[in-house]
Each structure stands twice: as C-alpha cells, then as structure tokens.
Symmetry: C2
Subunit: 398 residues, 2 copies
C-alpha cells in the first residue's frame, strides 16, 4: 500500500493556523477580525532596506555561498558586536529564516531518540523540527503565576536523562513574552556545563525588551562550546517574508556539521541577504521608535486584560506577545467560538489558544496568547470584543 | 561529553565544493580557472523578472502563505498546462528551492530505515537529504556505455525489498544529461504501480532537451497517486539564488503531510516568488534562445571531448551536463592535480570528479562531470586545457 510516513502523520498541523478557515468564514459574513493570533508585525519594513533590494543591480541571480554572502556575514559581525556578542564571519551561517537555523541545530547536534528539554509553553514549531529530526521534546512547565519565569533548577535536574543532549531557551520568549534575567541565564549555563548539554538559544526578539536588558546565551562566559544561537531578521526589521536567519556558534565541530547541511541545500535566499545587510546600517536609534510603539501596545493590552473580571495577564518583559488566563473552559473551543458564533458590533478577535504551546496534555486550556502586532486603536477594538465575548461565552467559568 | 550527532558526522561534505580551496589557491597564483564544476549558469536572469522584483512595492515584507503566494500558484498552473501537466493551485506547495521539495518528499513519504532506489550516478545532494530523513539510498548502476540509459527493469526488481518505498528519477538527468524516453518513463510507472512505490521526479532541467521531447512523471496516466514532482525555477530562468521551487502532487495525503512541514518553516522566500510569477509571462520563445545556446555548447564540448585520444563522452540529450570517461587512474586525484599542479598557458579547468555522484564505492574513478555553463569560447579554452592536461597527467592510463 502507498502510505505516507509515520512522521508525516505525527507532524503537528500548525496550532496557530488551524483556526484560519473559521476566520475566513467570519470575514465572508462581513465580520471584521482583529488578528492577534500570529506574530506578523504591522510595523513597516525600513524603507532603506526595501530600497537596497530595489537598487541592487545584477545580471544573474546566482547561488550565494552556502554560508551566505561573505559581505553580509562581515556586516553582521558589527551588528553582533553592538550587542556585545563577539563572533567572526566564519562562525556565522546565514539560514533560510530562524526556522532553518533551528532545524540545522537539531540535525547537527541530536540523533534519533535524543531528548531536548524545553520550558513550556514554547514556540509550537519546535515540535515540528523535533519530529523532522526524530528527537523527543521533554517539556518542563513554567507557570503563569510567576509570569513564566525559568522553572527551578530541580525541575531541569529531574528531567535530565542519559538521552538528554540539549536545552532550548527562547529569550525574550515566544509565546510568553518573558525576558530571562542574567541570573536565570547563568542558571542555564550551570546546567549545560554540569550535564554536558547544548544550549540552543532562539533570540528572535532580542531588540524588544521593555524591562531590564537582554542577556544573550552568547554572553555566557565559559559556555562557548555549548551555545548555538538561532537568530533571524524577521521580527527585528519586520522582514518575515525574506526568510533570512543565522546559525551561530563557536563550537567548530557543530559549525562544520551544520555547514554540511547548509551545502546540501546549496544556499540561503539571495534577495533578503541584501536587505539584511542594509539593515545593519540603520541609524542607531532605529529600534527606539519600534520599541516605544510595542511598549505602548503592551501597556495597553496588559492593562485592558487585567481590567476584565476573571482575567490575569502577567506583564511580559519582551517580545510582542502576552499570555492571559481567561475565565473559560477550553481555549480551543473559545477561540473557535469567537470566530464562528460571536461578534461585537460586527467585529471579533482572533487569538491563539495556549494549548498549542504546551506539550503536556491539559495545560493551557484556560490561557490564550495575544500578539500585540496591531496599533493601539486596533488593540482597544480587539479588547472591546474580548471583554464582550467573555460575558457572553457559554463556557465561562468562575 | 559534548558531541555532534551521528548524522552530523555521516552527512557528506559537498563533493563538488571540496575542490574549492584548490581553485582559490590556483587563482591566487594567477592561474585562470574555467569553472565547469558547478551548475551555476552564466545565462542572464531575464531582465523583466529582475525588474518585477525591483518594481514591486510593499510596506511590510510579510510572510507569504506557507504554500506560497496564491497569485503565484495560480500563475504556475498556466506554466504547467503549457507543459501538458494538469495541476490546480492547491496541488502546489512553493518551496525554498528544489532542495526543500526533495526534503519534503523524503520526510512526508519515508520513515527511518526505508529505502529509496536511485539510478547512479545521481545528484550528490540526494545523499544529504537521505541522511537528514534517515533513509537508505539503494543505487542501481547505469553505465556510460549506454549513455546512462535507465537500467533494465530486472535491476530494479532485484533492488526492491519490503523496505523500498520510492524511486527517484531526475529527468533530464544531473549529472549525466541523459533524457529518459517516454518508454523508460513508462517502465518506471509499471514498477511503481506493481510495487506500490512513490516516484519522486526531479525535473529541474525540463526546458533543456536537445533530442526528442520531455516526458514528465506527471504525464504518466494511472500513476497520479504515486508521483511527486520536485521542481525549481533555478535553472529554468537562471535564478538559482532566488531559492524558489515547487512540491507538486495529486496525492492528497502526501500533499497534506508536506503542508505540515511547510507550515513548520512558516513560508517560502517572498522576493523570488515575485520573480517566478513574472517568469511565467516571458514570451513563448524565451527558451528558444537559451536552448539554442546550450545546444551549441553541448555540441562543442562533446565534439572536443570525443576528439581527445582515450576520451569517451556520450551525447547528452538534455540538461547542461556531460559525463566523460577519461584515460586516468583516479578522477579525484586528477581534478585536484588540474588545480594544484597544472596549467596550460596560465589557464586550467575545474571539473567535478564523478565519484561523488556514485554511491557504489569504486565507480566513477575514470569519469568526470562537465557543466557546460560557460560560453563556447570559454568551453574551447577549457577543452584546450583538458587536452593538454591529459597528455601531461602522471596518472594517465591507456
């Protein structure tokens, strides 16, 4: 019989995108849908970056180097230096989005049956990459009560087995918005050193920290051989469609292995490398405006949420996500109901059920993730809808 | 101990790129190197495609749909219809190059330990994708004596085991340039139907057929559920750096599984989708000029090769590669020697040792692949070098 693979079966459908048909149906009915469900920023891509692509002259759109254009990697060194991250062009492999950097990390460091520890809730697509690499995700739970702080070291110790080979840390965190402190990063360092683990650091939201400063895994002295930075320009410069990221490590063996995966797919996309290179030359204060805008949105959404009876939203220190606990029975049912059976003056809101971000069954049933990627007016409109919805929802719990 | 993965170890370094340091050293010494080693065409990317990207206005470089822009997929339907391939936009997933289409196919259809049969010599990166998917490549040998025609059906039957789940056919073939006939494609159809196998069809060079016509795997009536087309615009429009390909199948279960892999990596690169969309509107006769140019080059290189004593080069029917048997002891040694220890009036030539394209150890030791991606003058210059080199090479065999 002609059958698809088991991994094809096991591969999870995107938990964020599964509600899309319901949103489309709502729009067809004439309902306005506020999209707080995905991390697609509305912030404009810097014009000088878009212009750099427009103005780039070439005769042949050639393969770039498998590690990415050398000129871009050289330029990135300055960007990282500016973030106190000391790397050379040869320690950087330009990837097709942060996604490919994650896949390269899993492939180069982990074998079938190996285990990777990830504090949950976590970015749902880690599951997909784990299935592609035939790797087992071992979640340890963080809690909305602590604002999703790093779980205590004992929880890591309990989860570590002889099969454990890595920990993933996403900082600032998607989906929680939590910004790990220098102390928490130091804790992670101690764990990976003690147990000889890799530390995969997804720092897609590095620039968006509203409380305190960002501690990169690359700052951890003495853990250089352990750390693999999985980076992307998608959120930084509102350039998600470019599909440009970076795989960075000082571990030569890992870098050499990742380079072989990079060679097999020939090269990263050419065009957005031009965009990424131009982005490094943006004025010093470029992030100030963007950050101020996101901070305003965060303050708005957190305030609105906590003002609703029965709702709790810890104040996220970074990224552009907030997690909220709602007085509901089931976030999957609720988010579908919002699109299918509810409107508030012809409007509704699309949220991401938190269940998709937890690996442990049953967790996240009364939580949702909100991406504050819309302007304050739209956020207020969305919060008006949510507030009205929570009063009407048949599955409301007290 | 902190160790990379076994698959990281097993992953082959690119056989085509491993000679690069020797080429760089030769250039530093002032030697001109003719690059016949890689499939990077010198043909200009159509100006109207490059212009389409330059003229595309946007405010935000957003993620595209995980399956690629709908407008592009709709447009592609016309392109395929023009090639007698009947598909709908929903049967197409735009991929990051043909590479990702191959990876999606392996991941969606094959599990760890499954076997895929590939006539050798074959595109070396299939090995890399097989290792990523933990799949075993079972080569069956084709021979330079027959111009690399499809091996007899008995050879397939002998290679098939209960673990066999797919056959890969690259048509026209990289590295041999062989164009499979309608009868040979029919043979493959009979095999996949009889043994319930998938047929992965890599048709990157569809447009470049110089003798006879192209039979797509998508033309095989009654095998619709079995066929997965892995396509790319890289060679077609000389747009390798764009990293745009396509995964196409009428098998709904396979398509749905592949879509989950596509969702995990969010979207294909945006920019080159614009380029690809514009390419479908190129004038009817666009390929005539390119094809005529490649045919002239092929005629030149094949004639020059066969005129050298002890050299045999079958006439390739398609793509832009030729395989030649040389009177040498070891193609790896010879190709390195060409760069390291030889020059002809300050010039030399870089070739791909055929060993990298064979899976069976020992095969291809007296064969090289030549990519005729340079103009006729350069090809003649390169052939002058090769002719002189074969007379001087210490490892010459009669």
């Amino acid at each position: 019989m002609l059958k698809i693979s088991n991994r094809g079966h096991e591969m999870p459908a995107s938990p964020i995108r599964k509600l899309v048909p319901f949103a489309e149906a709502a729009k067809k009915r004439g309902t306005k849908v506020y999209h707080l469900n995905i991390g697609q920023p509305d912030i404009e891509t810097p014009k000088q970056c878009l212009d750099a692509v427009k103005q780039y002259d070439m005769k042949v759109l050639e393969y770039s180097h498998s590690a990415g254009n050398e000129s871009y990697r050289k330029k990135l060194v300055t960007y990282y230096a500016h973030n106190d991250i000391d790397v050379t062009p040869n320690e950087i492999i330009i990837t097709t989005g942060g996604s490919e950097a994650i896949l390269f990390g899993f492939m180069a460091c982990l074998d079938a049956g190996d285990e990777v520890i990830i504090p949950e809730p976590f970015y749902a697509n880690y599951n997909g990459f784990a299935i592609q690499a035939d790797v087992i995700v071992k979640p340890i739970s963080s809690s909305i009560e602590t604002g999703f702080a790093l779980p205590p070291i004992e929880d890591f110790e309990k989860a570590i087995t002889p099969k454990t080979k890595a920990i993933v840390v996403c900082n600032p965190n998607n989906p929680t918005g939590y910004l790990y402190s220098a102390e928490e990063m130091e804790t992670l360092k101690q764990i990976v050193l003690k147990h000889h683990l890799f530390l995969f650091a997804d720092e897609a939201y590095r620039e968006f920290c509203y409380e305190g400063t960002h501690t990169s895994a690359m700052h951890l002295k003495g853990a250089e051989e352990h750390v693999i930075l999985m980076d992307t320009i998608s959120k930084r410069y509102s350039a998600c469609g470019g599909r440009i990221g970076a795989f960075i490590t000082k571990n030569k063996a890992v870098l050499d292995a990742a380079m072989k995966f990079a060679q097999a797919r020939l090269s990263p996309p050419f065009y957005a490398q031009i965009l990424g290179e131009a982005a490094v030359d943006l004025p010093e204060n470029y992030f100030d405006t963007t950050k101020a805008e996101y901070k305003l949105r965060r303050d708005t959404i957190v305030k609105r949420l906590n003002a609703m009876p029965g709702v709790f939203c810890p104040n996220p220190g970074g990224a552009f996500y907030a997690m909220a606990r709602l007085p509901i029975d089931d976030s999957d049912v609720f988010c579908q109901w919002l699109l299918e059976s509810f409107d508030h003056n012809g409007q509704t809101v699309m949220l991401a059920p938190a269940t998709g971000f937890y690996s442990t069954p049953g967790l996240g049933k009364n939580e949702v993730r909100l991406a504050y990627v819309l302007n304050v007016e739209a956020i207020n409109g969305a919060m008006d809808c949510l507030q009205a919805a929570l009063l009407k929802y048949p599955g409301r719990m007290e």
